[in-house]
Amino acid sequence: MSILIDRQTRLVVHGLTGREGSFHGGAMLDYGTNVVAGMTPGKGGQAALDGRVPVFDTVSDAVRETGANTSCIFVPAGGAPDSILEAVAAGIGTIFCITEGIPALDMVPVAAAVERAGARLIGPNCPGATSPGRAKVGIIPASIHREGSVGVVSRSGTLTYEAVQAMTDAGIGQSTCVGIGGDPIIGSTFLDVLRLFEADPETEAIVLIGEIGGAAEEEAAAWAAEHLADVPKVAFIAGRTAPEGKRMGHAGAIISGGSGTAASKVAALEAAGFRVAGSPTELPQLLRDAGYRG
């Protein structure tokens, strides 16, 4: 098994006919993901990706015609919140929003609407997810993965690739690798994803990759101490050298008023039984040290 996406995933790509949408849509299809539909208003009736995927004007058309159950959004920042709400209204259960640069206040009512509808949002400003050997949704390079049983959850993109590559090189595979996004307001949090990993019988160990800003790592650590007590858990936190009051690239990566520091996150994770790496390259060894034998 895996979480969020697998062979049952039927994906509709919002913005499939755009530059990013078609490039990554093609990569997802090549990986074996069931990309069943594209959605671009005004291009309904066309076929994208060399005629392999039908395009619809609305998400509800895509759902009705193809049974799509998962969305991946590549729509520009101005239209992405609307695109999330359209997916929710069409009854899509799992929505990945890759788009970067959405105004934070736009996400406040959107996150609430997703929650009230009982849907699940990953992102925005996230790389998506991969369940190796089953499906990949988003922009994570396929080549870094290996099938296995370690669940990876991260706020970052390339840093996640770095960590996953190190695991794969060491012969450690992943059940699912999820990037939750670097924005201040995101859908699913570390905690939400840890709950899914806890319920997944195939996930036998956890890798959490956090960074400065907010308190989501601390919140997840407190929960993991209780619910994932016997699961090998390792973590890495980026931004130990980041100065206070500066946004480190990600809109959400900022230490303000002394809160959101790497030190506070490392302390909370260690107290919860995580082994915290000093470099992403140490993660495989720490997994072994924590008793992971997969």
Binding site: L105, V108, I139, S154, G157, T158, F236, A242, M248, G249
Partner: protein, 396 residues
């Protein structure tokens, strides 16, 4: 984006909040003229340094004056003063208020709750972080509904809990006004500290003057991601306080933060860029910057990033760390080769490119005699060693 107090006050005023009159002066003479227009209100003016850093009062950047002569003299002392490394180039002149009591009130984006939070305290005039640390029970927190917004009853509750029952109508209008200011302008933070009960329109010693609630200071931070739909906000960016490197980085869509070390870093991705800095530090060096060239960067952006890094004379070595996904390694390698051809001074460079088109990148870099590294840790160690040999060479 942080904006100056005067701009923040203008945004509050536009939403109908009570802000006492002020003027901005760039010279002692302008301050004198402003004071002569404002002194009649309360007999005294306050002159405040306009800089985007906290702690102006402690640094001596906020002073009172009772005559236009004194205002000119005080402004002369404050203008040109350095506050946390920033030169004061303008002052705000306002009628001094006769303060009865100070409060704190702010609308902030609460990330964890994914809601707008109205936060208030009757302990006004001090940093809210200090109140939070020393007397957390003194802070009142009320979340606005994410779909319906802040309701009247919530603003009333805040007013009553702060002890502002006597000024209920004004307090409710201000509470709701802060949230409105936040929404209208796409702000992350709208903070009034102090929000104050003042006597008689602020007139000191005006006996029997009616008390009123006014915003005496204002701090607003705008969401950078929303600037695209507020074209007028760009004018509030203060060129006096933006380093030329920051403006240059913004033009090229590069995320850049200057630091104090000697090892320049060029990375793709924010998390990986922070990690690269951390590993430089772990290897015994100090990073000179945070720099994220972003996804899909091509040769021209790589060259621009190189210029930004080399503009800092302290830089003794450069560490390039690229994990190719959308970004193609060979594009970055070509950018580096071109940038080195153009650059004004030669600094040792350690390059690590993995992922998409890494092999093509490796052969390009080899032909051009770049020092390369396989792992991130190795790259950090080599860069630190290169910087150390540079400083040793410089000293010899």
């Amino acid at each position: 984006m942080k904006i100056q107090e005067a701009d923040a006050k203008r945004l509050l005023l536009a939403e109908g909040l009570p802000v006492p009159a002020w003027e901005v002066a760039r010279s002692p003479a302008e301050a004198r003229a402003a004071a002569s227009r404002l002194l009649h209100e309360t007999g005294q003016v306050v002159i405040k340094a306009q800089v985007l850093v906290g702690g102006r009062g402690k640094a001596g950047g906020v002073k009172l004056a009772s005559s236009d002569d004194e205002a000119e003299h005080v402004a002369d002392a404050i203008l040109g003063m350095q506050i946390k490394g920033i030169t004061v180039r303008k002052v705000l002149v306002a009628a001094a208020a006769d303060i009865v009591k100070e409060y704190y009130l702010a609308a902030v984006l609460d990330r964890g709750a994914r809601r707008i939070l109205l936060m208030g305290s009757a302990e006004g005039g001090v940093e809210i972080e200090q109140v939070a640390a020393e007397k957390p029970e003194a802070i009142v927190r009320i979340h606005a509904d994410p779909l319906l917004g802040l309701q009247d009853w919530q603003a009333r509750e805040m007013a009553f809990r702060l002890g502002l029952g006597r000024h209920l109508k004004a307090a409710v209008a201000i509470g709701k006004g802060l949230v409105r200011t936040m929404l209208v302008n796409d702000a992350d933070l709208v903070e009034i500290n102090p929000l104050a009960v003042v006597r008689g329109g602020g007139a000191p010693g005006a006996p029997g003057g009616e008390e009123q609630l006014v915003c005496l200071d204002a701090k607003i931070t705008l969401d950078d991601s929303a600037l695209f739909r507020h074209p007028t906000h760009e004018a509030m960016r203060d060129p006096d306080e933006e380093a030329p490197a920051d403006a240059e980085a913004r033009r090229h869509d590069i995320s850049f933060i200057h630091l104090d070390g000697t090892i320049g870093c060029m990375v793709n991705g924010a998390g990986l860029a922070m990690t690269t800095m951390d590993l430089v530090k772990r290897a015994g060096g100090e990073p000179a910057n945070f720099l994220d060239i972003g996804g899909g960067a091509k040769a021209d952006r790589v060259a621009a990033a190189m210029r930004l890094i080399l503009a800092e004379p302290r830089v003794e070595a450069i560490l390039v760390n690229i994990f190719g996904g959308i970004t193609r390694g060979d594009e970055v390698a070509m950018g580096l080769i071109e940038a080195r051809r153009q650059q004004s001074r030669d600094v040792p460079m350690v390059v690590r490119i993995v992922g998409t088109n890494a092999e093509e990148a490796a052969s390009l870099l080899e032909q051009a005699h770049f020092e390369t590294a396989t792992t991130l840790d190795e790259a950090a160690r080599k860069a630190v060693a290169a910087a150390a040999s540079q400083s040793a060479g410089g000293a010899a």
